[in-house]
């Protein structure tokens, strides 16, 4: 019996199948082993020694980790925990650790990490992302199929000093918040962070950026490196304990999901669990805070807009209505809901790079729905989804017709806010 596996948790699954229609990989692959119910059963059998980790790897590795199954499940099965336990068990077993596997599959595009390296070498090395990158792609030739990503990977935009150093208190600050920048986000989407800060100030918040913060740990966690993730979590908790804040705000669905689960991550560490709980509770997505504070708009946006939620914002942070509320409050805008918006776009961290073909099948499903709406703008709430939707638009040859924006960009535009 492999003790790391979340065996007990598998018994919460009553095999009702309610999660099947919600699972993107079941939909595109059509096999029970690529469904949540199938995966939970495989982990259970592996824990009982009836099947090996190797034999179930294909099934579990192809899981997006989108956790739509948790939202669909009537009996609250903790699928995330079960999946994570597999990742840990596998990376700790001798059978080629996940990171190695990444390497074998030419995981990450060079430019991505080179760009990252240029600016945030510090964070990059400190957080082992370099190891992930080196083992996976930096040292080898970029495979043909990854060109797609090269083309849509944004140019690195360093954050605007001015925005970051702004310590002028809004006249009467409604809330005192700290801002979580994220590491990959702050390399490629620094502008979105800058706009987020401006928007928060516009809504009446006093915003602080804590220098000591580090990566949220999501990428490391999803690759099964639990102990390292814990280290990052502790650094962040300590960093944000320096002062009292009403909230810690982020504009990255995936990071936010990691942050709000620090309490689960550290549940077996008595000296940390309380601090982790306190920190986890403070983390909040920018859409929630903006929609509760309310923002004033200056400009009409006369476009047809649709929204593709980030899975982790939706299924882990359970933020569903706030982004839509904000979007629909923009003057002039026509909002059309995307059918089956709650289905993952196939981006899922680095899934689209590691499992390119499978990811594109999922993206094709997504684009079918986009076609029925014919929007001029697709709004996203996470950088990974953002890139994937850009890729989807490009693959369909719709670049001239559809713009992909982060919700913060759209709101800033309507508020007349610019990054500088």
């Amino acid at each position: 019996m492999t003790s790391q596996l979340a065996y007990k948790e598998t018994f919460d699954c009553v095999q009702c199948g309610y999660c099947l229609p919600a699972c993107p990989t079941y939909l595109t692959m059509g096999k029970e082993r690529h469904s949540p119910r199938g995966r939970i059963n495989l982990v259970k059998l592996a824990a009982e020694g009836k099947i090996s980790l190797d034999e179930i790897s294909d099934s579990l590795d192809l899981c997006l980790g989108c956790r739509a199954c948790e939202t669909a499940c009537p009996t609250n099965v903790q699928y995330g925990k079960i999946l994570e336990s597999f990742k840990v068990a596998k990376s700790e077993s001798n059978q080629s650790p996940f990171i190695e596997k990444l390497a074998l599959q030419n995981a990450l595009p060079n430019k991505f990490w080179q760009k990252a390296a240029v600016r945030t070498l510090g964070i990059y090395q400190k957080t082992k992302l370099n190891k992930l990158a080196r083992k996976s792609g930096l040292l080898r030739v970029l495979p043909e199929r990854l060109r797609a990503f090269e083309e849509i990977t944004p140019v690195v935009q360093p954050p605007k000093r001015k925005v970051r150093q702004n310590t002028i208190l809004p006249k009467k600050a409604k809330l005192n918040v700290a801002f979580f920048t994220g590491c990959v986000m702050d390399v490629f989407f620094a502008k979105i962070n800058d706009l987020s800060i401006r928007l928060l100030e516009h809504a009446g918040c006093h915003v602080t950026i804590i220098k000591e913060q580090t990566c949220c740990g999501a990428l490391q966690h999803h690759s099964g490196d639990k102990s390292f993730t814990k280290k990052l979590a502790k650094e962040n908790i300590t960093a944000f304990e320096q002062a009292e804040y009403d909230y810690v705000v982020n504009s990255i669905g995936g990071c936010g999901a990691m942050l709000v689960e620090y309490d689960k991550l550290l549940e077996n560490e008595p000296q940390w669990v309380e601090r982790a709980e306190k920190f986890a509770k403070k983390n909040i997505d920018i859409s929630v805070i903006l929609s509760s504070l309310g923002i004033s708009f200056e400009k009409e946006i006369n476009k047809v807009v649709t929204y593709q939620p980030s899975c982790h914002l939706l299924n882990v942070q359970k933020v569903k209505d706030d982004p839509v509320k904000l979007i629909t409050s923009i003057p002039g805008l026509t909002y059309l809901p995307l059918p089956q918006a709650d289905m993952c776009c196939g981006s899922a961290g680095i899934y689209n790079i590691v499992h390119y073909e499978e990811s594109m099948d999922i993206l094709d499903e997504k684009m079918k729905h986009v076609h029925t709406v014919r929007p001029a703008v697709i709004v996203t709430s996470n950088p990974g989804c953002h890139l994937q939707m850009c890729l989807g638009v490009k693959r369909e040859g719709l670049e001239k017709k559809i713009r992909v924006v982060h919700i913060v960009e759209l709101l800033a535009e309507a508020c007349g806010i610019e990054a500088v």
Binding site: Q15, G17, N41
Partner: protein
């Protein structure tokens, strides 16, 4: 035994090899359903045409290999379990055909179509496909037909078999035949359609169905009625039905399920009452407005503590939410849920409630009751932990006694979940020796080599109820 030679022959029958599953991770993934027991098949096939199915069955019949049809695997009675190994035929991917013909008010579907999608498509034409098992957004029409599934709307609209006009089936010898047709009236020969529906895949394999659709009611209205005493609740259910009103749904939640919901997610229900009944009326808006007042009066006259009428659809959804929360609420303390569907004549509801409470005490089990009160299809659910061997023994005894009680009160073993493996040992208790024997003769006539879903419905000598998974 599925030999390599057989697999090679199957490769010629199946149009794509990607639908022939042989890896261990695949085989174990079709070894279970939503009930109990794990059995590994030797092979899984995902056919997409009657031609493929006919070819497979012909071959299986020649080599006497068991065939186990499977939809979404949501059966609560062991229906699709490959108890004798052999081949699982997974129909869940054969969902391509879904045509609604508004002129004939019929739908033509392939077996893997998800049931709720039929109703969704019908809705576009102002029509409705009434059968609504709670699992309708997951389960397949093939599985619904084989189990003759029903749901809350069964009270007014009947169950799956009431909406089947015709079928295409593959016989155990691998022949493709059509039964019934496309018209409501059809008395040509024996009614084979109705024989196949509810036969749990033991007589033939369904490859296409023609379903009856009906005009969609314009509006609906929901009431929540609270009863301090279950006897009053039982009388109210009968009185509503004799007051000239036919509600579309009448669902009941007992004290234990109300308490569980309140502990899980407080929605403001009273926890000191015997039962809550949710009633839905459908039809013309003015008619149901009037009917809802009548129902309210009938219930109050019979001692209801309180009646709430939902003002709009949103408020109605809120009322139904309580019912939806029962499932997650009751599995919070222990993970294993055993859903029974023993059904009794409506007049026996209070008696059944009393007897269930006695069973609960006698065997010291966590038992909650909620379900379709209008048609006597109660769902006694036992909450337990499958890893607790000692408790499971008591649970098995409690379940046996529930079955016996239902039959004693003039009811039946199963209202909608089917017999499968789980209830096979109790068949004679309800039908008598000759009754079961007549059914066996049907089986032998249709499937002389016993290759279609063997090990189901009919017990082997000495078979008893066992609730284990290994």
């Amino acid at each position: 035994m599925v030999t390599e030679q057989i697999v090679n022959q199957l490769k010629k029958i199946m149009e794509s090899e990607s639908r022939i599953l042989t890896e261990k991770a695949d085989l174990v993934s079709y070894s279970f359903d939503a009930s109990f027991g794990t059995y590994f098949p030797e092979l899984v096939l995902q056919p997409l045409s009657a031609g493929e199915v006919a070819g497979i069955v012909k071959l299986a019949n020649e080599y006497k290999i068991p065939i186990y049809p499977r939809g979404a695997g949501t059966s609560l009675s062991g229906g699709p379990l490959p108890v004798h190994g052999g081949i699982v035929l997974d129909f869940s991917q054969w969902n391509q055909l879904l045509i609604v013909d508004p002129e004939d008010t019929v739908a033509i579907v392939s077996p893997g179509v998800i049931t709720a999608n039929i109703d969704k498509e019908a809705k576009k034409h102002g029509l409705m496909y009434p059968p609504d098992p709670s699992s309708s957004h997951v389960s397949t029409i093939g599985g619904n037909l084989a189990e003759n599934a029903g749901g809350p709307r069964g009270l007014k609209y009947g169950v799956t078999k009431d909406y089947v006009l015709g079928l295409e089936i593959v016989t155990a010898e691998g022949e493709i035949i059509r039964t019934g047709g496309r018209t409501i009236k059809n008395v040509t020969g024996y009614d084979l359609t109705k024989l196949i529906v509810g036969a749990e895949g033991t007589l033939g394999i369904i490859t296409e169905a023609t379903l009856q659709l009906i005009p969609r009611p314009q509006a609906s209205k929901t009431l929540m009625v609270i009863f301090a005493d279950i006897v009053d609740a039982g009388r109210a259910i009968s009185s509503v039905l004799t007051s000239g009103i036919m509600p579309s749904k009448m669902e009941i939640m007992d004290q234990a399920s109300i308490a569980a919901v309140e502990a899980y997610e407080p929605v403001g229900l009273p926890v000191d009452v015997d039962a809550i009944i949710l009633i839905e009326l459908d039809g013309h808006p003015l008619a149901i407005e009037d009917e809802s007042e009548k129902v309210k009066q009938v219930c109050l006259d019979l001692g209801a503590r309180k009646v709430v009428i939902a003002k709009n659809d949103h408020a109605a959804a809120e009322l139904w939410r309580a019912r939806k929360l029962v499932s997650p609420a009751i599995v919070r303390t222990k993970p294993t849920k055993i859903s029974e569907d023993a059904t009794i004549p409506r007049s026996k509801i209070p008696e059944m409630f009393k007897r269930l409470q006695e069973i609960k005490k006698k065997y010291q089990v966590d038992l909650v009751v909620f379900g379709h009160a209008g048609d006597g299809n109660l769902h006694p659910n036992i909450i337990t932990n499958i890893q607790d061997k000692e408790e499971m023994k008591r649970v098995e005894k409690a379940v046996e006694e529930i079955f016996a009680t239902a039959i004693e009160l003039g009811g039946t073993l199963s209202g909608e979940h089917g017999i499968g493996t789980m209830k096979a040992p109790f068949m004679e208790m309800e039908l008598g020796e000759i009754g079961v024997e007549m059914m066996k003769r049907m089986k032998t006539a249709w499937d002389p080599n016993n290759i279609l879903n063997p090990g189901k419905i009919f017990p082997v000598k000495g078979q008893r109820l066992v609730l284990v998974n290994d």
